[in-house]
C-alpha cells in the first residue's frame, strides 16, 4: 500500500507546479525531438522528453508518475517507428528510479542532481539498446550510448530553467525538526524565500 500522504508535504506544498506548465514544457520537449535534425548528430541528440519528464517526476511526483512516463514512451515509440513499448518500458523504469531518488535529490543543487541522474539516463539508453538486441532488431549502433550522457548534460540547463519558472530554490530545503535542534528556523531572514511565485 502507498504511504504517500494525501496532501502534498513540504516543498511540494510550497511550490506546486501547475498542470499547464508541466504539459507545456513536455509538449515543447516532444516538439524539439521532432525537429529535422541532421543525420550526423542523431546519435548525440539528448532525449528532450525524458529529461523534462524526470524533472517533473522529481519536483511534481503527484502529476508526473509512472503512468505519464509510460504514455510519453508510447508516444515516442509511435513517432520514431520503434517497437511499441520499447521507449515506454525504459521511460517507466527511469521514472521509477527518479521517483525513488526524489527525497535524496531534494538536498542537492542542480549539478549534484545531474550527477545522480546521469546513471539513470545512461542506463535508460543502454537498456534500450539491449532490449533491441533481445528482440532481434538488426544491427545495434552503440554510438547511441552517447545520447544518455548528452541527456544528463542537457538536464542541467533544463533544470535551471524550470527551477526559475517554478520558483524552486535549493535554499528552500526544510531541515528535519528533531535531527538538528539548532538548525535555523524555516524561512529565517537572509534566505530569500521565493515560495509562491
Amino acid at each position: 500500500m502507498n504511504t504517500e500522504p494525501l496532501v502534498p508535504q513540504g516543498l511540494l506544498l510550497l511550490t506546486p507546479a501547475s498542470t499547464r506548465l508541466i504539459a507545456g514544457t513536455l509538449a515543447l520537449a516532444y516538439l524539439a525531438a521532432q525537429l529535422p535534425w541532421p543525420d550526423g548528430v542523431t546519435w548525440l541528440l539528448p532525449d528532450f522528453t525524458l529529461a523534462v519528464l524526470l524533472y517533473w517526476s522529481i519536483h511534481a511526483p503527484h502529476r508526473a508518475g509512472l503512468g505519464l512516463a509510460m504514455a510519453l514512451g508510447l508516444l515516442a515509440d509511435i513517432t520514431q517507428g520503434s517497437l511499441i513499448g520499447h521507449h515506454a518500458l525504459t521511460y517507466t523504469l527511469s521514472a521509477f528510479a527518479a521517483l525513488s531518488l526524489r527525497r535524496r535529490l531534494e538536498n542537492f543543487q542542480v549539478g549534484g542532481c545531474a550527477l545522480h541522474l546521469a546513471p539513470i539516463f545512461f542506463g535508460q539508453q543502454l537498456l534500450f539498446l539491449l532490449l533491441g538486441l533481445a528482440f532481434h532488431l538488426p544491427g545495434v549502433d552503440w554510438r547511441f550510448l552517447a545520447a544518455g550522457v548528452a541527456t544528463a548534460l542537457f538536464w542541467v540547463p533544463v533544470a535551471r530553467l524550470l527551477d526559475r519558472l517554478t520558483g524552486w530554490t535549493s535554499e528552500m530545503h526544510i531541515e528535519p525538526a528533531d535531527s538538528r535542534p539548532s538548525a535555523r528556523p524555516v524561512g529565517s531572514a537572509g534566505h530569500g524565500w521565493r515560495g509562491h511565485r
Partner: protein, 278 residues
C-alpha cells in the same frame, strides 16, 4: 468505524512499476511477433506526420533563403557544367536508342518477354529517423503519389535503398547500408552473381559468404542483376574495395563502397513500375 482515511489507498509504486513493465513487454512482443500493430502504427504516423512537416517547414524556408543569396558566378559556372553534361548524355542517348531498338529486335527473335519499363518519381528526404537499430529516412512522396512498398530508390549515381513503408503523403525508405538490407548483384566484368549486404555504416557494403576462389578484384563494379524481381537490371550498386581472404572460415569476405551517395543527398528517385507492365 468511520474514520477519514489517513493515507491514500492506491497501489504501491513497485506494484505499479511491475504492471507497466509487463504491459510494455507484452506490447513489444505483440509488435515484434505479429503484424497486429501495423494499423495502429500507420494511423499514428498519419497523425504525427503533419506536425513534423510543419516543424520542418521553417528550416526548408531557411535553406531556400540561403539559395537566394547564391553568387551569380556560381550559377553561371553550374549552368555551363550542366549544359556540357546534358550534351554528353544526349550523345550517349543517341547510341542508346539504336541499341534499344536492336535489343527489342533480338528479344523478339529469341521470343523473350520485353523488360518492364520503369518510371521514376523524384522525392525529397524530409526526415531521418533517429533509430539505433535501423537506417531509415522519410521521403515526401506517398501512396497518393502512387508509391508502393518494395520499390527501389536510386540517386543519379546508383542504388540507395528500398521503400519499406508507405503512408498517405510520405514513405519510409530503408537505406542499402542498413544491416538487414541486401541486394542481388552481378559483377559487371564477368557476370558473377552475388548478394551485397549493408554493414550499418554509410560508406561500406559487404559480400558475406563468398566462395574463396570467386573471381572478384578491387575496382570491380557490381550492378543489380534483376533476378529478384525487386530491383531492375543494371543499377550500379557498389565498387569493390578489397577482398579479404578466408580466415578460420571457408568463406571470403569482400568490402565494397556504395556508388550511390548514401546519406549525402536531399533528393532521390523512386522507381515505380508502371501499371501497364504488370
Amino acid at each position: 468505524m468511520a474514520h477519514a482515511p489517513m493515507f491514500a489507498r492506491t497501489m504501491g509504486l513497485p506494484a505499479r512499476l511491475a504492471l507497466y513493465c509487463l504491459a510494455s513487454l507484452a506490447l513489444m512482443v505483440v509488435d515484434s511477433r505479429y503484424a497486429a500493430m501495423a494499423t495502429v502504427k500507420n494511423t499514428a504516423a498519419e497523425l504525427v506526420n503533419p506536425i513534423q512537416d510543419i516543424l520542418a517547414r521553417p528550416f526548408g524556408y531557411l535553406g531556400k533563403a540561403g539559395d537566394f543569396f547564391i553568387v551569380h558566378g556560381q550559377v553561371l559556372g553550374e549552368n555551363r557544367r550542366l549544359i556540357l553534361a546534358s550534351q554528353v548524355f544526349a550523345s550517349r542517348l543517341q547510341g542508346y536508342e539504336a541499341l534499344k531498338l536492336e535489343n527489342a529486335r533480338l528479344r523478339a527473335l529469341l521470343d523473350l518477354r520485353p523488360p518492364s519499363g520503369v518510371e521514376t518519381r523524384a522525392a525529397e528526404i524530409v526526415r531521418i529517423l533517429p533509430d539505433p537499430f535501423n537506417r531509415r529516412v522519410i521521403v515526401d512522396k506517398g501512396a497518393t503519389d502512387g508509391v508502393t512498398a518494395g520499390r527501389p530508390v536510386v540517386d543519379a549515381a546508383g542504388l540507395v535503398g528500398q521503400v519499406t513503408q508507405v503512408y498517405s503523403t510520405s514513405s519510409q525508405v530503408s537505406l542499402l547500408t542498413a544491416k538487414e538490407q541486401a541486394a542481388p548483384v552481378q559483377n559487371q566484368r564477368n557476370g558473377l552473381r552475388l548478394i551485397v549486404s549493408g554493414t550499418g555504416s554509410n560508406d561500406q557494403l559487404e559480400v558475406r559468404y563468398l566462395d574463396m576462389h570467386a573471381d572478384l578484384k578491387p575496382g570491380d563494379i557490381l550492378v543489380t542483376s534483376g533476378i529478384d524481381g525487386v530491383y531492375p537490371l543494371g543499377i550500379p550498386v557498389a565498387r569493390v574495395v578489397r577482398v579479404e581472404p578466408p580466415r578460420q572460415t571457408p568463406f571470403a569476405r569482400v568490402i565494397c563502397q556504395p556508388i550511390g551517395a548514401i546519406g549525402q543527398h536531399r533528393h532521390v528517385l523512386i522507381l515505380n513500375r508502371p501499371e501497364a507492365a504488370k
